[in-house]
């Protein structure tokens, strides 16, 4: 192109960027890539840019996804969630048997598995790893609360003795926090070990520059022969979404984590870029604090739920890339009930519910929104307008996200926003957290308390028959939905943009990804 024309074209597009923050491009690729039929090629290094830096690689105590998804490349579990987010498949174990009373699980370990330091993995390592994980009172130990003891009768067998029947047990074992590490932290202190952890995963520790990057390199002892294909992976920290996109287009990075919804269409048309939307377990909610009297009234909560125009929210906030939520659980979780009956938009019904409530003329309510949180502010404005028609006057209280979080967890809010993504391929964690007032978070900080729901969820925890368990969770979801324990807003996908030269990249509904399957052209 002639230099002057190119300069003019640049100026013209610069004006477009000023208005929309985007630059138009060329061909389209959008759907999530299923594993490629082409032959994987060995070699190459990819850089993944994400919005936050990792804080810690102590998998037993870290709750941050940016740390967890890296730790999972190093440490693996006995079982892992499948690509559908619901099934569990053997991983470091090849099979398990369960005793008749359901309280003893015997796992057979896979032969030939080694840690990245070359030492073979044995049952002693498994026992050590999970005993350590379940001791972590400030971490994930609570998910292993059903375990009474662990024994290792021989190097390839591990036996778990439970206190009681526990239906989510294998799903809990698949949690990253229960990933297997060398016994006694390979002779180091705990703190030193987790500065550069060792595991059986496809990648091993390379280096880290705090606040900048984390790099892993191929584990030469990895048990899946021929994998990983990549020589290494680096995760960088780039907060600005525009910069991440420019880096992807400039070839400086190969993967852009979570591009904003408003750039999906543009990225689909960008030459050399694959824009993928992976089904996720993310569900966004409107929290209604029942410590505030009007919100304790079930008819008020039902009215608010009916007044949420989810389709409008999906269109304006997600640019159409999402679906209205109809249950506490998302579709990618086992025992999700598509007939849960989460209340959908119907202003007439909303008004009818208000008429039945103790506050038929409406009331004032404060809505907590994060400063700079565009999504919350947009949804808030849509809700404010809708609730006004019910006589509910919404006043916003804007706070920085740390204060907002603190206030929700300290019950200093009336209406607020939250979301959840699953950590295990089982509904128990979310159901306990969101519906059991003694589940640790006062029912997602709403103080919702329905003894029937609580009893059903406890029953489901101990019910190992999947058909009966499905029926229990169906009841839980339907009752909770009818009582509008939360305003279920929407389900949204994970958004990942990456170079078209990258194949085999797949993000599971739980959010994690197996980079041993990824390869570069």
């Amino acid at each position: 192109m002639h230099p002057r024309r190119r300069a003019f074209a640049f100026l013209a597009t610069a004006a477009a960027v000023a208005a929309t923050g985007t630059v138009a491009s060329l061909a389209a690729q959008s759907s999530p890539r299923s594993p490629s039929a082409a032959t994987p090629k060995r070699g190459g290094h990819i850089t993944i840019a994400r919005i936050e830096d990792s804080t810690s690689f102590d998998k037993t105590n870290v709750f941050q996804n940016e740390s967890i998804w890296i730790a999972e490349q190093i440490n693996e579990s006995l079982y892992e969630a499948g690509n559908d987010g619901k099934t569990l498949k053997p991983w470091l174990a090849t099979a398990y048997t369960k005793s008749k009373d359901g309280k003893t699980y015997t796992f057979k370990l896979r032969k030939g598995v080694k840690f990245s330091n070359g030492k073979p993995m044995t049952s002693a390592d498994v026992k050590f790893s999970i005993d350590d994980a379940r001791k972590q009172a400030k971490g994930w130990g609570y998910l292993d609360a059903a375990i009474k003891s662990i024994t290792a009768p021989n190097p390839s067998t591990v036996v778990f003795h439970l206190k009681f029947q526990w239906a989510p047990f294998v799903a809990d074992m698949a949690l990253f926090a229960n990933g297997i590490i060398p016994k006694n932290f390979a002779g180091q202190s705990r703190a030193a070990f987790y500065k550069h952890p060792v595991g059986t995963g496809p990648f091993m520790w390379d280096k880290r520059v705090v606040g900048q990057s984390v790099s892993l390199k191929r584990n030469p002892f990895y048990w899946q022969k021929g994998k990983p294909y990549l020589d290494g992976v680096t995760w960088t920290f780039v907060t600005d979404e525009n910069t991440r996109e420019l880096q992807l287009r400039g070839g400086q990075i190969q993967v852009d984590e979570f591009p904003p919804f408003n750039s999906i269409d543009k990225l689909k048309k960008t030459s050399g870029v694959t824009m993928s939307l992976f089904p996720s377990t993310r569900t966004d909610y409107l929290d209604m604090n029942e410590l505030y009297p009007p919100l304790k009234d079930v008819h008020v909560r039902r009215a608010i739920s009916y007044a949420i125009d989810r389709a409008a929210i999906v269109k304006s906030v997600l640019f159409g890339y999402g679906t209205p939520a109809n249950s506490q659980l998302p579709p990618q979780v086992p025992y999700y009930d598509k007939n849960a009956g989460g209340l959908q938009y119907d202003l007439a019904k909303a008004k009818a519910e208000m008429a039945k409530s103790k506050f038929p003329k409406g009331f004032k309510v404060q809505m907590l929104v994060g400063s700079g949180a565009q999504v919350e502010n947009t949804i808030g404005q849509i809700l404010q307008s809708a609730l006004k028609q019910l006589g509910i006057t919404v006043k916003f209280k804007t706070e920085d996200t740390s204060t907002e979080f603190n206030d929700i967890q300290s019950n200093k809010y009336q209406l607020g926003f939250s979301y959840w993504t699953m950590d295990i391929a089982d509904p128990d964690e979310l159901v306990t957290f969101a519906l059991d007032p003694k589940g640790g978070a006062f029912s997602f900080y709403t103080h919702y308390n329905n003894p029937t729901v609580t009893a059903l969820s406890h029953q489901a925890q101990r019910e190992v028959n999947p058909v009966k368990r499905a029926a229990l969770y169906a009841k839980v979801q339907r009752i909770a939905a009818s009582q509008a324990n939360l305003g279920y807003l929407y389900y949204s996908p994970y958004r990942w943009a990456y170079t078209s030269k990258l194949h085999g990249f797949f993000v599971q509904p739980l959010g994690n990804y197996h980079l041993e399957d990824a390869w570069l052209d």
Binding site: V17, G211, L246, G250, S402, W420
Partner: protein, 314 residues
């Protein structure tokens, strides 16, 4: 008083300033709502887990006790550990200082490189077209937010026109740093230069009316020599003060540039640690900022004195 004595006296003044800043910041950051334990635990925060973390970090102690412990550690050179990264806060700050120093240093250099010739051109062609253009165009630059300017420069020089620069990042090695830091520093320079241009132009116009410049001209000296040897040397004195103030604002004001260019500087560190309520890091960064600002103003005064022999240190 000699220069050395002056510098020592000013450095000693650092102590009460730094102490005052740390007291203020310590109590402010602890009294602002928000809890690092809840931020770390996220949705999984329970009262029991929060209490455990508070105990581990000493946050369950009364505030004056926490401050006393902080002072005690600071006296030993220990700024505490980052609650999020579990690395010494001081080490974290030192690691993140170089990109910010590059940004400030190279940005200042480029701003002077841009401002001096433009101001000289404007002053020597007073009220003519070059002067009009020089006075108007930088004002446009002042109106562009640094965020937008940064993205434009990236699009232009890192993506479209030859891809001569990386899209953000800090690079590796001195040459890599120079290459990566050029566009961000240019963004800084384009923000400061308009102010310097106007200040220097005004000073030059004033100096052109001076007796010694008239004398130099009447002696037949070439205009360029009059400008460089006599006018600029004297006109730049007041502009140095303006530059010093702007650099002072840059310390801590580089956050937006660091974000756009993905630079791991202390501006980013500061804002992230405030949002996370990573108290030790906030305190450590504030300490460093306070020291840097004092040093910048000291340097400004020294340069001022070196340029103007009439300035005395007492």
């Amino acid at each position: 008083m000699s220069l050395t004595g002056y510098v020592v006296r000013r450095l000693l003044q650092l102590v009460p300033i730094v102490l005052g800043v740390t007291v203020l910041v310590f109590f402010l950051i602890h009294l602002v709502p928000g809890d690092p334990a809840r931020t770390i635990l996220g949705n999984h925060a329970t009262p029991a887990k929060v209490a455990l973390l508070h105990r581990e970090w000493g946050l369950d102690k009364p505030l004056p006790v926490q401050y006393w412990r902080f002072l005690h550690r600071m006296a030993r050179g220990d700024l505490g550990s980052s609650l999020f990264y579990s690395v010494p806060a001081g080490r974290l700050v030192v690691q993140r200082l170089p990109p910010t120093l590059w940004l400030i240093g190279l940005g200042t250099f480029l701003s002077v490189l841009i401002a001096v010739p433009l101001a000289a051109l404007a002053a020597t062609k007073r009220d003519r077209l070059p002067d009009q253009v020089v006075r108007a165009v930088p004002l446009v630059g002042l109106g562009f937010p640094p965020f937008w300017l940064g993205i434009m420069l990236l699009l232009a020089f890192a993506l479209h026109l030859g891809r001569g620069f990386p899209v953000g990042g800090y690079g590796a090695g001195p040459l890599g740093h120079l290459h990566s830091m050029f566009l961000p520093s240019l963004t800084v320079a384009l923000a400061i230069a308009p102010i310097l241009v106007r200040s220097l132009r005004a000073s030059l116009l004033e100096v052109f009316e001076s007796d010694y410049v008239t004398t130099a001209r009447s002696k037949g000296l070439p205009e360029r020599r009059v400008l460089v040897r006599h006018a600029l040397r004297n006109a730049v004195i007041s502009t140095v003060s303006v530059l010093g103030v702007n650099i002072g604002f840059l310390v801590g004001g580089t956050l937006v540039i660091e974000q756009v260019y993905a630079l791991p500087g202390i501006g980013q560190l500061m804002i992230n640690s405030i949002f996370q309520r990573d108290f030790p890091v906030v305190q450590a960064v504030t300490l460093v900022f306070a020291i840097m600002v004092v040093l910048v103003y000291l340097l400004t005064d020294i340069v001022h004195a070196l340029l103007d022999p009439r300035v005395r240190f007492d």
